[in-house]
Amino acid sequence: MNNSNTAIEQTSSIKQDSKPTKKSKRLQKAWKYIKRDKYLYIMLFPVIVYFLIFKYAPLYGEIIAFKNYRLADGINGSEWVGFEHFRNLFASQEFYTIFRNTLLLNFYSLVFVFPVPILLALLLNELRGEGYKRVLQNILYIPHFISWVVIGGILIALLSPSTGFINYALQFFGLEPIYFMVSKFWWTVSFIASSVWKEAGFGTILYMAAIAGISPSLYEAAKIDGASKFRQIWHVTLPGIRSTIAILLILQVGKIMDVGFEHIYVLQNPAVSEVAEVISTYVYSRGIINLQYSYTTALGLFQSIIALILVVSVNRIVKALGERGLW
C-alpha cells in the first residue's frame, strides 16, 4: 500500500518536472502531422468554417430565447428577460394543444406506420419470382421521391367531397360521402395513411437487405426441424432483422418531437387546426409570419432539448438490451 503510494507520487513528480519539454515536444509532433497532411487540413478548413457559421452560430443564437429580441438591437444588444418566454409558453393553452398534437401524430406513426415496411419486407421476401419482385419494389419506392406538395395536392383532389374519386366510390357502394379534410378523425387517418403511402415502400430497402443477410443454413435447420413458413418467419427472419428494427426505432423516437413541416402544412386547414397544429407549423406561423422570434426560439429550444434527451436515452436502452446502438 505504502509502496504504491510513493510510486504514484514519484511518477507524478516526474510528470511535473518534464511538463514544459513534453508540451513543446507534443506541439512539435502535432505540427509535424499537420505539415504532413496539410492538404487534408486545407480540405477541412472550409468545412469547419461552414459548420461554425451555419450550425454553431445558430446555437449561439438560441440565447434570444432568454432575451427580448428586437431586429434593431441585434442578438447581443437585446435585453435579457430570463425565463419569461418559457413561463409564457408553459402557461398558454396553445402550447399544450400543439405539444399534444405533435406527440399524438408521432405516436400514431410509431404504431401504424413504423411496422408497415417490416411487414411489406417479409411479404416481398416470400415472393419467388425475382422479376415480379423487382417490378413491385420499384413501384413501391416511387412515392418516396415525390414532394409532399404534390402528394398533398393529389390527396386533397382524391378525397374532395365534390369531385374526388374516393367519395364517388363510396357513393357507388351506397355510402355517405365523407368530408375527409375537415373531419378531425378522417383528417388524422388521411395524414397517417399518406405517410404509409409515401414511405412504406422505401422503408423496406433496409429490411430486405437485412433479411438477405440471414444465413440460409438457419432456414435449412428450421425446415429439418419441421418448422412451417410462419414459424420460420417468426423464429429466423424476425430475430435476424432485430438490430435493424432497433436502429430505425431509435431514429423514429428521436423524431417524436418533430412532425415534418411540409407534410402537415400542405394538408392543414383551419377546420382541423385543433388536431393538426403542431410545433413546426406553430413556429412558422408565430415566428416567421408574426415575428415573435424570441418566443418561438424558446419553443424550438424546448423541442431540441427533449429530442436530444430522447435519442440519448433510447440509444442507451437499446444498448442495454444487447443491440448495437447508433453510437
Binding site: A30, Y33, I34, D37, Y39, L40, Y41, M43, L44, P46, V47, Y50, F51, F54, Y56, A57, P58, Y60, G61, E62, Y69, I75, L120, L123, E126, L127, L136, N138, I142, P143, F145, S147, W148, V149, G152, G153, A157, L158, S160, S162, F165, Y168, W197, I205, L206, A209, S228, K229, T244, I247, Y265, V283, Y284, I288, Y293, T297, Q303, S304, V311, V312
Partner: protein, 291 residues
C-alpha cells in the same frame, strides 16, 4: 417439395396482396394523370378513373400559355443543379480527410459534426442568421444552410474507409499529393456512392418547400413546389377563363388545371427515376453499414 394447403394459399394470397399494394401506390398518380386530360363535365360527374374521359389538352394549353409554371420549373432546375453540385463538393471535402485515421483531431471534428445532427439550433435562429448574412431572397439561402447533410457525409466517409488502402499508398509513393489522389484515384472508384448521394441531394432540392417559402419572396424566383402549392390552393381566374383557347364546349375545371400542374411537376422525377433506381438502393445500404 411437399407444400401444405395453407402454404399454397399463402403464396397466392401474397402475390395478389402485393399486387394490390403496388396498384394502390400507383393509383393516385394514374388518377391525377387521367383527370388532367379529361373534360370538366366528366370530372364533375365523377367518371374519371384510370384513363381520361373526353380526352383533351386544354388544361395543358392553359398552363403553357400562362407560362408561370415553367418559369418556376426553370428556377427549380437552377436551385437543384447548383445546390447539388455545392453539396457534393463540400460533402467530399468533409468526408475524405475524415476517412483517414491518421488525421490528428479527427475525432474531435467528427464529434462536433455529429452533435449538429443530434441537436440543432432550430428554425428561428437559422432564419435570423440567413437574414444577418444578407442572403434573404437569394438562392444562397437555399444552398448554404443545407450545404452538408451530416448523414450523407457519414455515408460517403464509410464508403471511402472501405476502399483498399494499397491503391493510395502506391500513389503517394509516386509523389501524388492528397488532392491528386482524391481526384484521380478515390473519386473514380466512388462512383456508386457519388451517384446515390447526388440523387438524394437533388431530390431534396427539387422537393424543398419550407426553405423557399421562408427565404424567397420575389414571385419570379419561386420554385416549382411553392408555385404548385399556390396553384393547388387557388387556381387563378385567368387560367380558368379560357375563351378562345378551348375547342368545342369543353369546360375547363380547376381540377383539370391542378392535376395537369401536378403531373408536369412530377414529370422530371419520373423521367429520371428508372435510370437511377439501382444507385439509391446502393446508397441506402452503404449508409446502413455503419450508422
Amino acid at each position: 417439395m411437399q407444400k401444405s394447403k395453407t402454404e399454397v394459399f399463402f403464396t397466392w394470397f401474397n402475390i395478389i396482396f402485393l399486387a394490390l399494394c403496388a396498384f394502390a401506390t400507383l393509383f393516385p398518380f394514374l388518377n391525377v394523370i387521367a383527370v388532367s386530360f379529361s373534360s370538366g363535365r366528366a370530372i364533375n360527374a365523377g367518371e374519371v378513373f384510370l384513363w381520361p374521359i373526353e380526352f383533351n389538352f386544354d388544361a395543358y394549353k392553359q398552363i403553357i400559355d400562362d407560362g408561370q409554371l415553367f418559369v418556376a420549373m426553370k428556377n427549380s432546375i437552377i436551385i437543384t443543379v447548383v445546390g447539388t453540385a455545392l453539396n457534393m463538393v463540400f460533402t467530399i471535402l468533409c468526408a475524405y480527410p475524415l476517412s483517414k485515421t491518421r488525421v490528428k483531431g479527427r475525432n474531435v471534428i467528427l464529434m462536433g459534426i455529429l452533435f449538429t445532427m443530434l441537436f440543432s439550433g432550430g428554425l428561428i435562429p437559422q432564419f435570423l442568421l440567413v437574414g444577418n448574412l444578407g442572403l434573404m431572397n437569394t438562392y444562397w439561402a437555399l444552398w448554404l444552410p443545407s450545404l452538408i447533410s451530416v448523414y450523407n457525409m457519414f455515408v460517403m466517409k464509410t464508403f471511402f474507409e472501405g476502399l483498399p488502402e494499397e491503391l493510395e499508398e502506391s500513389a503517394s509513393m509516386d509523389g501524388a499529393k492528397d488532392f491528386t489522389i482524391l481526384l484521380r484515384i478515390v473519386l473514380p472508384l466512388s462512383m456508386p456512392v457519388i451517384a446515390a448521394l447526388t440523387l438524394f441531394y437533388a431530390v431534396g432540392h427539387w422537393n424543398a418547400y419550407q426553405s423557399v417559402l421562408i427565404y424567397i419572396q420575389s414571385s419570379e424566383k419561386l420554385s416549382l413546389t411553392v408555385k404548385l402549392f399556390q396553384m393547388i390552393d387557388l387556381v387563378s381566374p385567368e387560367l380558368l377563363d379560357s375563351g378562345e383557347g378551348t375547342e368545342n364546349d369543353v369546360v375547363l375545371t380547376e381540377q383539370a388545371i391542378r392535376s395537369a400542374a401536378i403531373f408536369i411537376s412530377m414529370l422530371p422525377i419520373l423521367a429520371v427515376y428508372p435510370f437511377l433506381q439501382k444507385y439509391f438502393i446502393k446508397g441506402v445500404l452503404i449508409g446502413s453499414v455503419k450508422g
